[in-house]
């Protein structure tokens, strides 16, 4: 094992993706893009263009399929203002994945495809007995989108494309403790579990490549509301004398998955070098509050989680629209080997003193790297690794009181995320 091997291995693994973006957005849609800080709107790299910019698909000349998956390892530290212990997550791994296939006449102007990807999700399991347990103990949010796409090259330089975005699968599982003490001294526990209704949206884009050295893209992905109706409510470990007050057995909730507008530029100074720069504008301001409606009594009411409750609960979010900047490039070392490097800076949509345990968010810096190794004419292996550093963020109990956000925990969060990914491409 010599240095060259180590570097190569490191390079392979640092092939990255922009693992998480702000909020609960996950931008890990293509392994090549992942390795370049998540750029792609101004490029026509491969079939993943269906996610980044459907307008660029017509410029991807080959038919092909590709499949990719990531493993997201989030490591978090939290110190409560009221606590002395550092709390870490019970470690869990989530596996965002993507699947693309595109088809079209080799010389024709049309290209059609289908994409499956996971643009939103979150899974966090907090340490047992952590200070924020009355706000959240566990969250598992999943979404899978399916997107049939068509793209048309109006000229050799200009193409457009659009896809129908289908929220094919969505699920939410939220758990927290209820601050009611029984004889055992243990608090009660609440679990909400539901599936989202299927919803439609769209994804459209324009791609313009005025020269061999320059390309420009614009894309827009519409907002889709993930709506759960009739999700299951399960109370456990409540003292017998108050259990009857918690009659809720079903809940409704709507979570906005916000619209994203992106602009990207691609530069190809030589045949072997591609550089991309993207800006994403995510309309998080649609996420004003998280409102649950219960069939029956959730025991909430004026004293959250206590007897004498109500049939609704509302928690302020008031996210703000947020920008992400991405810069990345690739270099074709040999016929078969391409290496990539990229970075991103992601502004948090979460305002100060509005940080919740379900998205312990702050501004994020991402670094990623990746490679593609082609085996023969048609087959390629892509690998990427992305490292995200989420800035340290503190909110005090006084901040929470002043903002009317006392349903969350005061303290300091710090998170890092490593996301290796692997993909296979077959072109024909």
């Amino acid at each position: 094992m010599n240095l060259k091997h180590l570097l190569l291995a490191g390079g392979a693994l640092l092939t990255g993706t922009s693992a998480w973006a702000g909020g609960f957005q996950v931008t890990l849609a293509g392994q090549k893009n992942n390795g370049m800080g998540g750029v792609g709107v101004g490029l026509s790299l491969d079939q993943a263009a269906m996610f980044y910019n459907p307008g660029a698909l017509a410029m991807v000349r080959q038919n092909g399929v590709q499949i990719g998956a990531n493993a997201t390892f989030a490591r978090s530290a939290f110190r409560a203002q009221s606590g002395t212990e550092q709390r870490e997550l019970r470690n869990s791994t989530v596996t965002p994945f993507s699947l693309y296939g595109s088809f079209g006449p080799s010389e024709g102007k049309f290209r059609a495809g289908i994409a499956v990807y996971t643009p939103f999700g979150s899974k966090l399991q907090y340490a047992n007995g952590w200070e924020g347990r009355y706000s959240l103990t566990d969250i598992d949010l999943k979404s899978i989108f399916v997107q049939p796409t068509v793209s048309y090259a109006i000229t050799d330089q200009l193409s457009v494309g659009a896809g129908l975005v289908v929220l094919a699968y969505g699920s939410v599982n939220l758990q927290k403790d209820i601050p009611i003490t029984g004889q055992s001294g243990q608090p009660g526990h609440l679990e909400l579990d539901g599936k989202a209704k299927n919803k439609l949206g769209f994804n459209a884009g324009v791609f313009f490549k005025p020269s061999d050295k320059l390309s420009i893209g614009v894309s827009y992905r519409s907002r889709v509301d993930a709506t759960v109706e009739g999700g299951d409510v399960k109370f456990t470990n409540l003292p017998a004398s108050v259990g009857a007050n918690f009659t809720a057995n079903q809940f409704d909730v709507t979570l906005p998955l916000p619209a994203t507008t992106s602009v990207g530029v691609g530069l190809m100074p030589t045949e072997k070098v591609t550089i991309g720069f993207d800006v994403n504008f995510v309309e998080w301001s649609s996420y004003k509050s998280l409102d649950f409606t219960f069939a029956g009594n959730n025991g909430g009411g004026p004293n959250a989680g206590l007897v004498g409750g109500s049939t609704t609960s509302s928690s302020r979010r008031e996210y703000q629209d947020a920008l992400t900047f991405r810069l990345g490039g690739q270099y074709q070392v040999t016929e078969g080997l391409t290496v990539r490097l990229g970075t991103s800076y992601d502004f948090s949509p979460v305002k100060d003193s509005f940080v919740t345990p379900e998205t312990p968010d702050a501004d994020r810096v991402g670094i990623s790297t990746g490679i593609t190794y082609k085996i023969g004419e048609n087959f390629g292996v892509d690998a990427s690794v992305q490292f995200i550093d989420v800035a340290k963020r503190t909110q005090t109990q006084d901040d929470l009181i002043n903002s009317g956000t006392t349903d969350r925990v005061a303290g300091t969060y710090k998170t890092r995320v490593v996301t290796p990914g692997l993909g296979f491409t077959y072109n024909f």
């Binding site: 094992m1 530290a77 924020g132 009355y134 108050v242 004026p302 206590l306 109990q397 009181i401 998170t415």
Partner: protein, 479 residues
């Protein structure tokens, strides 16, 4: 194959490195420091609140969660010494006996039961054996029931019979049982370096919880000033630093705010315009000034109104409009009376006719003991304002930290008190700050008080004592 291993091994090694190095670490909070204070011998002066009284009793769990005990535990990280409390032994852990919650009735009202005491002294039998004694030097000098006006009363623990002071007062020589609270404080303060002093609550509380109907009045403001001065002088004589706490407005506690709103709602639903109540303690029949009409709209609830109803009157509310003498009988027994002759004398003195409709006729009014009306509240406010001005002045004169418990509890009444997604309030049972007697805090309530005191101590003395996580202390325990 060999080459594959050759190529992937370094990769796995690097991945392992990345994941290990990925776990972030946050700096631990700064270690507690004492600033200009010296916590090596801390003593706590006060009444039931300082003793850890809870659920209408003094018992081991309450003592262990007293705010002085919590403070002492936090002081330890900054040079604090051992803190001795006159704990009831494990075998007598029920202490004086206390209330526990057994459930809720059909109307959702809490039902409590008495857990009998097992430390001697049966409250129903004044001649019974005293509480198990505790005669060593102590740091927690909280004596349930003591008023500022009692601190220099000789025989307060013996001939006058405060069983909690009796417990901690030596009876080794014929004169020792007559040691006053002031003398005891002076003895313990001789080598104390830090103190908290929270006296004076009972100087209004006795008058208030009796609905202004007892012979006990609020303590004379000059007496209060004099006694308070002496206590604070004794505490600071050797240069000890400390905290003086003000007295919270008793009209915000659940003892006074729980029954009224429910009563008002019931009266409104039955279209009853108002109640006839008794006020004060003066004897006299239906035509005298001790009868008073309280319009329903004037009963205090969230929407307004002035008149407060005590928690002790909860059981009488259901009899309003019925010809009954039960509330009077209950009141008579609760006051220690027995035998029909005494009851008849009581009814006669106040001109009560138990065949008249209860609570709505001057012949059978709602008893004064269950009503704290606006006039009585005014008396309390006047006394409290004066007491608290005295305490503030004295704290400033001695350059001591001041815990404005009055201001703090007023803010909790208004805004509730949230920590780590748990909202506590001054509501009865559901609020988790006040215990089942509606007057004394739960362990959670005491932890919150300790944290507020830590704030003012740190601010005054430049120390960095860590607060506790109040959510780790129980509120009301549900069956």
């Amino acid at each position: 194959m060999h080459s594959l291993i050759h190529k992937t091994l370094p990769g796995l090694a690097v991945l392992g490195l990345i994941l290990t190095g990925c776990q972030p670490d946050l700096e631990a909070p700064e270690a507690a420091t004492r600033g200009t204070a010296d916590f090596s011998r801390y003593i706590a002066v006060g009444n039931s609140l300082t003793a850890g009284f809870s659920d209408n009793g003094l018992y081991l769990e309450g003592q262990q969660n007293s705010y002085p005990s919590i403070l002492a535990q936090q002081f330890k990280a900054a040079g604090g010494g051992d803190f001795v409390q006159p704990l009831f032994p494990d075998a007598n852990s029920n202490g004086s006996g206390y209330l526990r919650l057994t459930g809720f009735d059909a109307n959702g009202s809490p039902v409590t039961a008495q857990v009998p005491g097992n430390a001697g002294r049966n409250p129903g039998a004044p001649g019974s054996a005293p509480y198990v004694r505790f005669e060593q030097p102590i740091n927690n000098l909280g004596v349930p029931g003591i008023r500022m006006s009692d601190v220099q009363t000789a025989g307060y623990g013996s001939t006058l019979g405060n069983p909690y002071f009796e417990r901690i007062t030596p009876n080794t020589t014929p004169t020792a049982p007559f040691e006053t609270y002031f003398q005891r404080v002076k003895r313990e303060a001789a080598n104390a370096t830090f103190f908290t002093s929270w006296l004076g609550n009972n100087d209004v509380l006795g008058y208030a919880t009796a609905g202004g109907a007892s012979s006990t009045t609020t303590t004379n403001v000059d007496t209060f000033r004099l006694k308070s001065n002496r206590i604070i002088n004794a505490l600071t004589a050797n240069g000890a630093k400390g905290v003086i706490a003000t007295i919270p407005d008793v009209t915000g506690i659940p003892f006074f705010t729980t029954v009224g709103p429910r009563l008002k709602a019931t009266l409104l639903s039955r279209s009853v315009a108002g109640l006839v109540v008794m006020t004060g303690a003066a004897p006299g029949g239906p035509a005298t000034a001790n009868r008073k009409v309280v319009p329903t709209a004037d009963i205090r609830d969230a929407s307004g109104g002035r008149q407060l109803f005590t928690l002790t009157g909860a059981g009488s509310v259901g009899f309003i409009g019925a010809p009954t003498g039960k509330p009077w009988r209950d009141l008579y027994r609760a006051g220690g009376g027995s035998g029909p002759a005494g009851l008849a004398a009581l009814l006669n003195a106040y001109g009560v006719d138990t065949t008249a409709a209860f609570g709505v006729t001057p012949q059978n009014p709602f008893p004064s003991a269950f009503v704290l009306d606006d006039v009585e509240q005014g008396n309390i406010t006047t006394a409290l304002t004066s007491y608290n001005n005295t305490l503030r002045t004295q704290a400033a004169a001695k350059n001591l930290a001041l815990f404005d418990a009055n201001g703090f509890f007023s803010s909790v009444v208004q805004n509730r008190y949230a920590t780590d997604a748990v909202v506590n309030s001054t509501s009865f049972i559901t609020g988790n700050i006040f215990s089942l007697d509606g007057v004394h805090p739960t362990p959670r309530g005491y932890a919150i008080i300790a944290n507020e005191m830590i704030k003012v101590i740190n601010a005054k003395y430049g120390s960095t004592i860590q607060p506790v996580n109040a959510n780790n202390y129980r509120g009301v325990r549900f069956p």
